[in-house]
């Protein structure tokens, strides 16, 4: 019986992020030591984990060696086959964030944006040479520049220390990933306007052809559900508050509905739930519980205070599941397009 093969990055920020994510999803990895490149997920049977260089993971998927993987979107789109079987199931795992940017020397005051770069490429062409761009993303860079009507350039394939390429002279400019831009600045480079080719982060990707096999298709569902449930939960927070109905001039908790329905911040995911508070304080007290978007927390607290809310507490959610799993539905739909599940 085929087991699901799950490819994870072997090192770096994507390795740490993957380990943390899977642990938080209840899918902790069991690996005997760091020099062993295989592992298991004890809480789910039927899964073999393999550790690979992240740049190799798209190829492992396209060659049907891996069924599922976590990979940076930059590596994925640079390396995946255009007509291959791999598909992004969840594109925002929240770690490994970086931008793929075009950067030129600081002193090129005449090159501020992509249009200036196009002009420069023509000018260099007239002078008998092409703009040289050092990058380890030749495919993404070429397509991006061609799509922006920049045709006269040469890609210089480079894999490390790219930032120094213009200074030592083997390229005129670079295209590389950056998180904060500090390394670029330290190497006297500046990111040009509209020159962000791609904003990348870690993603869960799957192989349509191999996942279509019945026995591993059922194994992949809990992985997607748990990761998606955890990622959903990170966007929300649970808020509880005690309110005095008496002070609000209301006779029953249901009367609160009219007050809350006019306030979208207090509506939360599906409207608050309530329970009675047993207290020695005078009047009728209830406890409200809301699930709200995390970026609405402080406005929500303010609104609750305005209603006379006290003892406001918050707690994180572990998992949040919607009616359907978006990632799983995407997989099912894509598989149905290429043919029936075996």
């Amino acid at each position: 019986m085929k087991r699901l093969s799950f490819a994870l990055p072997v090192s770096g920020a994507l390795y740490d992020g993957s380990m943390d994510l899977l642990k938080n999803c209840g899918l902790s990895i069991s690996r005997s030591n760091n020099r062993v490149y295989t592992a298991t997920i004890p809480s789910l049977s039927g899964i073999d984990v393999m550790f690979q260089r992240q740049s190799d993971i798209p190829a492992r998927l396209d060659s049907n060696v891996a069924d599922l993987g976590i990979v940076g979107l930059d590596s994925f789109y640079e390396s995946k086959l255009d007509n291959g079987n791999s598909l992004v199931l969840i594109d925002d795992l929240g770690f490994g964030k970086s931008d793929l940017v075009l950067a030129v020397p600081d002193a090129w005051l005449d090159v501020k944006n992509l249009v200036d770069l196009a002009d420069l490429s023509f000018k260099m062409r007239d002078q008998g040479r092409d703009l040289r761009i050092a990058t380890k993303y030749p495919r993404l860079v070429s397509r991006f520049l061609n799509n922006n009507s920049i045709y006269y350039f040469n890609i210089v394939d480079a894999s490390g220390g790219i930032e120094v390429a213009p200074y030592i002279g083997y390229a005129d400019m670079i295209c590389d990933i950056t998180d904060t831009g500090n390394t670029l600045r330290q190497n006297r480079l500046k990111i040009i306007e509209n020159g962000t080719i791609f904003s990348s982060q870690a993603a869960l990707v799957g192989n349509l052809e191999t996942l279509a096999k019945t026995n591993i298709f059922s194994t992949v569902k809990p992985v997607i559900e748990k990761i998606e449930g955890y990622m959903n939960a990170k966007k929300y927070i649970r808020v509880t508050v005690n309110l005095s109905l008496t002070d609000l001039g209301l006779s029953s908790p249901e009367d609160l509905q009219a007050v809350l329905s006019s306030n979208h911040i207090l509506h939360g995911l599906k409207g608050p739930s309530f329970s009675h508070v047993l207290t020695t304080e005078p009047g009728q007290w209830i406890s409200l519980e809301l699930i709200i978007s995390i970026d609405q927390l402080l406005p929500c607290i303010e609104e609750l205070r305005n209603l006379g809310g006290v003892s406001i507490t918050t707690s994180d959610l572990n998992m949040l599941f919607y009616k359907d799993s978006i990632g799983y539905s995407k997989l099912v739909q894509a598989i149905s397009l290429i043919g029936d599940i075996e």
Partner: protein
């Protein structure tokens, strides 16, 4: 262990006998035809150094080239066109340039990744005429392309002709920048339709073009070159290598150009209006040239227009029916590559855009590859598969009888071999078959496979059965 996926690479094709036979027949016709015009056959390697193609001597986009590192570590590419290789051959094998006229013909596949059409190769026949800058070479190439295509397509052949030089002269007259010109050349379809000028201007701005009017508020930011120089020295005083791979003067020139924009929206609009009128001309040669002459009355493009007239009108000397030639001043083929007279070949079953071939003059090639600007060239290429689609070419195999010798009994083997040798000497195509269980079964199969005759043996006696 996973089963290996050994399907062919998407965008390529398995060819079988019938198609190969048709293409071989086409190639044979092509070389015989072009040989009579003095073209000698050459065959450059399928792989060249990547730099040859990434140097953009053709219009292939960097993202479309198949490139890889060979086992020696050399960066190489599958050829995306023949012309680059041919120019390279000439530079590499001839010390004294320019040479006399060179006429080459070629045949083979070129490779360009195309994610939209999902066809990543083109089977081509073509010619190059190098070293002649006169109209006679334009006329010769155009006539050769038309007459050969007519041999294959017959009276359904249609041709459209244009001249890149005419549009280039218009763009130069209005002093448009490279990017402004490219926007216009890339959007001739849009301009040819009755589109609102504001719509086109807005599209140009989305493309990143800006005009003098946009810079009115920035005029005060303009400085002299000396001031720019002092600013750079001051800002980067602690770094002697601040300009890195560029000269300081190049940066200063770039800064100065940013604030010295000559093109106004009005100038740009005038240019678009004029080009729109020009490319919408749809008439016979005399009327088209006459109308173009009026439209271009203020613009010094008379030489190119009169050259255009001379080339097209001279085609009748080759007994070419000018009524089958559509005048299209918007035809530029691959912009940035062609520089003069251009043409497309198509037939009634194909739209002009889906032409099966074409060509024209591309004088800037030598300059692109070797800074050699005295390298005039013209040529054409034909997409063999498009050309032969829906066209019944003579299949040479049909000229010969196909005979099957049925080996029912291994004892007849020696006799079968001797018979096959005799029959092949007579010109037949002979195969030996031993898999069929009976002569009747073979006869049924033969009826569907163009077999002329079955030969078999009964008690060592040769028996023939016509199908």
């Amino acid at each position: 262990m996973n089963k290996l996926n050994l399907n062919k690479v998407l965008g390529f094709k398995d060819k079988y006998s019938e198609e190969i036979s048709v293409l071989n027949d086409l190639n044979s016709k092509f070389f015989k035809f072009t040989e009579k015009w003095g073209y000698t056959q050459i065959s450059p390697p399928i792989i060249e150094k990547t730099d040859l193609f990434s140097n953009k001597i053709s219009s292939s986009l960097t993202s479309n080239i198949y490139y890889f590192t060979d086992p020696s570590g050399q960066e190489v590419s599958l050829r995306p066109d023949f012309t680059s290789s041919i120019i390279r051959m000439i530079f590499e094998n001839n010390e004294n340039l320019p040479l006399n006229e060179i006429r080459y013909s070629y045949s083979g596949e070129i490779y360009r990744y195309n994610n939209i059409s999902n066809k990543n190769y083109i089977s081509q026949n073509g010619v190059e005429f190098i070293g002649n800058d006169s109209l006679t070479s334009d006329i010769e190439i155009t006539a050769l392309a038309i007459l050969f295509s007519k041999e294959i397509v017959g009276n359904e052949l249609l041709v459209s002709v244009g001249h890149v030089g005419i549009i280039s002269d218009v763009l130069n007259y209005f002093k448009l920048s490279d990017r402004e010109s490219i926007f216009i050349l890339q959007n001739l379809d849009l301009i040819s339709k009755d589109n609102n000028l504001d719509f086109i201007i807005n599209k140009a701005k989305d493309f990143g073009l800006y005009f003098k009017n946009d810079l009115i508020n920035l005029q005060n930011k303009s400085f002299s070159n000396n001031e720019y120089s002092r600013m750079l020295d001051f800002a980067f005083s602690n770094d002697s290598n601040f300009s890195q791979t560029r000269e300081k003067d190049s940066i200063i020139e770039g800064l100065a150009n940013k604030y010295e924009k000559n093109t106004t929206v009005e100038i740009f609009s005038d240019c678009i209006n004029l080009i729109s009128k020009l490319i919408n001309i749809d008439d016979n040669l005399e009327e088209s040239v006459s109308k173009a002459n009026k439209i271009l009355s203020k613009i010094p493009v008379k030489n190119n227009l009169s050259d255009f007239y001379k080339i097209v009108s001279s085609l009748k000397n080759y007994e070419i029916d000018l009524s089958k030639i559509k005048i299209n001043f918007g035809l530029v083929r691959e912009w940035g590559y062609y520089s003069g007279f251009v043409f497309n070949l198509y037939n009634k079953n194909l739209l002009e855009k889906n032409n099966f071939g074409g060509g024209g003059r591309y004088n800037s090639l030598g300059n692109s590859i070797n800074n050699n600007d005295s390298f005039p060239a013209t040529g054409f290429a034909i997409d063999n598969e498009k050309l032969t689609k829906n066209i019944k070419l003579k299949n040479n195999n049909n000229l010969f009888n196909k005979i099957v010798i049925f080996l029912k009994n291994q004892n007849d083997y020696d006799l079968a071999i001797k018979t096959s040798i005799d029959e092949r000497k007579k010109g037949s195509i002979v195969t030996l078959e031993s898999k069929f269980s009976s002569i009747n079964e073979l006869e049924e199969w033969s009826k569907n496979n163009d077999i002329f005759e079955i030969i078999y043996f009964e008690k060592s006696e040769l028996i023939r059965r016509k199908i």
